[in-house]
């Protein structure tokens, strides 16, 4: 009985949808087009669930269509590994040829790279370090990654790179891109600061620039010259392009860069008439931003890309876990060795749970960042996004968890 009424409802809904669709097509209003597309999506979802028990048919067909491409993650695009080289002792560059489904990028953007390592998908985000010209002409992009000895992904990438044929990549993301020409027409100069591997998005921007309209100064902070990637190319650009100035800061010898002091010493330079692009550890960018704002620079002129260096365990045994539940964020004090589930409940949260001994997988949820200790195996996780069992995981560093 229920089924009959359900089917009838569905039919009615479907016809209503068709009529509605036609009427709106005629009136041609965009806001309603959005409604249609939402309806279409939900209809498709229902259809796919009915037919294949998957939210999209792609998930059902993936094992079939890509049976010979296990490295292809069903949510992402395939990318062929074309070549690789070591920029420095610690920085590995990989040239990729994305599948035609990949939409391209704006220099400065990053993407999530996923690889299959020991049967497991692991992901990490990287800035694209190649120019838009390389993609336009050869359909290739390059990512450059500093190999972290503690990092799960980069270590696996370095170990597997010689036999890797494919990686999976997400769409390019992020708004760390050069301001459009409309802004730069005000003859503003551009100041860039790169720390270590933070050079990657900035080098992508610089090597993509076709018509130089304003002066650019790049402060490139590295421990010593041996660790500076793309140095030859940067020097070449500085020699060729009069508007570009390269300032290499060797922090091992010269100490940390004092940006404001440096800029003030420059002849004919106005702090407030510049655009700023920082890429490096969060603490560095925050410091420079604060200094500049104190000097009267508007915060809209400052762009920063923070990258996650390997998470260092927070001091002391108590860590902070941020639990996000439908947009609401709760901070939970998570003591070492205490299951996160217990810590969260102590704070008044009610995550889904079951056996509480690691058997039933009811409490699995998405960890967005940070490292956890598996209390049953004693293993310490990577610091990227992954699913964890709350009842047998304890905080090993500060965490972000989505309930």
């Amino acid at each position: 009985m229920f089924l009959m009424s359900d089917l009838k409802n569905r039919k009615v809904v479907f016809y209503l949808f068709l009529v509605y669709n036609c009427a709106l097509k005629l009136s041609g209003r965009t806001s309603v087009n959005k409604t249609i597309s939402l309806w279409g999506q939900s209809l498709y979802r229902q259809f796919s669930l009915m037919l294949a028990n998957q939210p999209k048919l792609g998930y059902y067909l993936h094992p079939l269509l890509n049976w010979n491409k296990p490295a292809l993650h069903p949510d992402y695009h395939s990318a062929r590994v074309v070549d690789f080289c070591w920029e420095t002792e610690q920085m590995l560059s990989v040239w990729l040829e994305p599948a035609s489904s990949w939409a391209g990028f704006t220099p400065g953007q990053h993407l999530l790279v996923t690889m299959l390592h020991k049967g497991r998908y692991i992901s990490r985000s990287f800035s694209i370090s190649s120019s838009s010209a390389l993609f336009a002409q050869q359909k290739q992009i390059r990512i450059s990654c500093r190999i972290q000895p503690q990092g799960e992904f980069t270590k696996a990438l370095a170990a597997d790179i010689s036999k890797l044929t494919h990686l999976s990549i997400s769409d390019a993301m992020g708004d760390f891109v050069l301001a459009t020409t409309a802004d730069t027409a005000l003859e503003k100069s551009i100041v860039m600061v790169a720390a270590g591997s933070g050079i990657t998005p900035l080098w992508s921007m610089l090597s993509s620039l076709r018509c130089w309209t304003s002066p650019v100064v790049l402060f490139y902070c590295v421990k010593n010259t041996a660790q500076a990637a793309f140095l030859t190319e940067l020097k070449l650009l500085a020699a060729k392009q009069p508007l570009f100035e390269l300032q290499l800061i060797e922090t091992a010898a010269a100490g940390r860069l004092n940006l404001v002091q440096h800029l003030k010493a420059k002849a004919g330079f106005s702090l407030t008439k510049s655009l700023y692009y920082f890429c490096g550890p969060a603490a560095m960018s925050r410091q420079y931003k604060d200094d500049l704002i104190q000097q009267g620079v508007s915060s809209t002129a400052i762009h920063a890309e923070l990258f996650g260096l390997a998470v260092t365990a927070a001091e002391g045994p108590v860590k902070q876990a941020l639990f996000m539940q439908q947009g609401k964020v709760t901070t939970v004090e998570a003591a070492a060795g205490v299951p996160l589930l217990q810590a969260a409940e102590h704070q008044g949260l009610t995550p889904r749970f079951g056996c509480r001994i690691g058997v039933c997988y009811q409490c699995v949820c998405q960890k967005k960042s940070g490292q956890v200790l598996n209390l049953r195996t004693g293993q310490i996780s990577g610091d990227g996004p992954e699913q964890i069992q709350l009842c047998i995981s304890a905080a090993h560093s500060n965490l972000q968890i989505e309930l």
């Binding site: 089924l3 359900d6 089917l7 028990n53 998957q54 049967g119 699995v364």
Partner: protein, 359 residues
């Protein structure tokens, strides 16, 4: 034989070690295996549905189609679905194979299954009054339960349950929560509202019915009756198979039950002990194990529910040796022998009396 707490903790340590030995080695081999299963399942599902329509050339094609679709449903439910929903492949971080996202080709909603099976059944295995999987509230399988008149015809009840097994599984949680009938038991804490339970039950059930009995017959055109009958048969074959496998894993003659007092605040060692005594294995060739989703190694499955199932066969000798060392009965036999004892058990307890199987 009763084990001391000291012995139990030693038992736990030894079993933990067996598990760690496998879990630390997980990698390409297991990933390739389960992906190959997925591929086989997709191929047999799609070719089965196509061949059924081609039955107009010769009915043998239809027969082959039904067999392939039944195979696809069995693989989807047993070797893939049941194991994936246990989180056995969560480490692969693959959205198609993750316990949180997986949904299967059966009337039962995956979320409901994870609550009643992964949590209730696997945590409280064979504790009378806590594990409703022991007899499903329909069958009297030991003298721990009072005899009622309806137990007289419980063999027929069993046959009906087996034939409609997917619906029994799907209704299981709603029955426990007394959603439609009966008074709610005071000690049950429900984590999901009745509305959500009903929504999942009807939603999933309707989708499954629509697919097999409306959508595919409709697009088969003149062959609609063949397709509809074929789908019905494939579903019934799957139902009978899954039910038989599960009964042989839990209701054989020597499977033990436990009282709630015995298990209050139990140690991990006692939990392991209970899992060994509460399950039974049966033997067979390799393909047979795959069709059972390796539930032919029910004991190993109950000890290590989140270990990729293909390893149950490799750890079984170690588990058997450990069980022997501690004098715990390890219940294993041929499929036919085990099934015969299941039938005997159902029939024996149709009548009053008999022995209680609590340890």
């Amino acid at each position: 034989m009763k084990l001391t707490e000291q012995q139990l903790s030693e038992l736990a340590a030894e079993l933990d070690q067996v598990k760690a030995g496998v879990m630390s080695q997980l990698g390409d081999k297991e990933a390739r295996y389960i992906r190959r299963m997925l591929l086989t399942q997709r191929l047999s599902a799609i070719s089965g549905r196509v061949l059924m329509v081609l039955g107009f050339i010769t009915p043998w094609l239809w027969v082959l189609g039904v067999a392939l679709l039944a195979l696809a449903k069995i693989l989807d439910n047993m070797e893939i679905g049941h194991n994936v929903l246990h989180g056995q492949y969560d480490w692969m971080n693959d959205p198609v194979l993750h316990s949180q996202r997986f949904e299967w080709d059966i009337a039962c909603d995956a979320g409901s299954w994870k609550r009643t099976h992964n949590f209730e059944h696997h945590t409280y295995t064979n504790i009378i009054g806590k594990d409703r999987d022991f007899g499903y509230g329909l069958l009297r399988l030991s003298n721990d339960f009072r005899w009622r008149l309806r137990n007289l015809w419980q063999f027929v009840t069993y046959l009906v349950l087996s034939t409609l097994f997917q619906w029994g599984v799907s209704y299981h949680e709603l029955a426990g929560e007394r959603v439609f009938f009966g008074k709610k038991k005071p000690d049950r804490v429900n984590s999901v509202s009745h509305t959500d339970l009903k929504k999942a039950f009807f939603g999933k059930g309707a989708r499954q019915l629509f697919k097999d009995y409306v959508f595919f017959p409709l697009i088969a055109g003149p062959m609609w009756l063949w397709v509809l009958t074929g789908n019905l048969l494939a579903n019934i074959i799957r139902n009978l198979w899954t039910s038989t496998v599960i009964f042989c894993g839990h209701f054989t003659a020597d499977v033990h039950t436990f009282t709630q007092q015995q298990c209050e605040g139990e140690s991990r060692g006692h939990w392991y002990y209970r899992q060994i005594l509460g399950s039974s294995n049966f033997t067979g060739p390799r393909w047979f194990h795959i069709l059972t989703g390796h539930l032919s190694c029910q004991i190993e499955h109950h000890l290590f529910p989140d270990m990729p199932a293909l390893h149950y066969l490799t750890v079984a000798p170690q588990v058997q040796a450990i069980a022997k060392k501690y004098g715990i009965a390890y219940n294993s036999g041929s499929f036919l022998r085990q099934y015969a004892t299941v039938v005997a058990r159902i029939i024996r307890y149709s009548f009053p009396g008999g022995r209680a199987t609590t340890v």
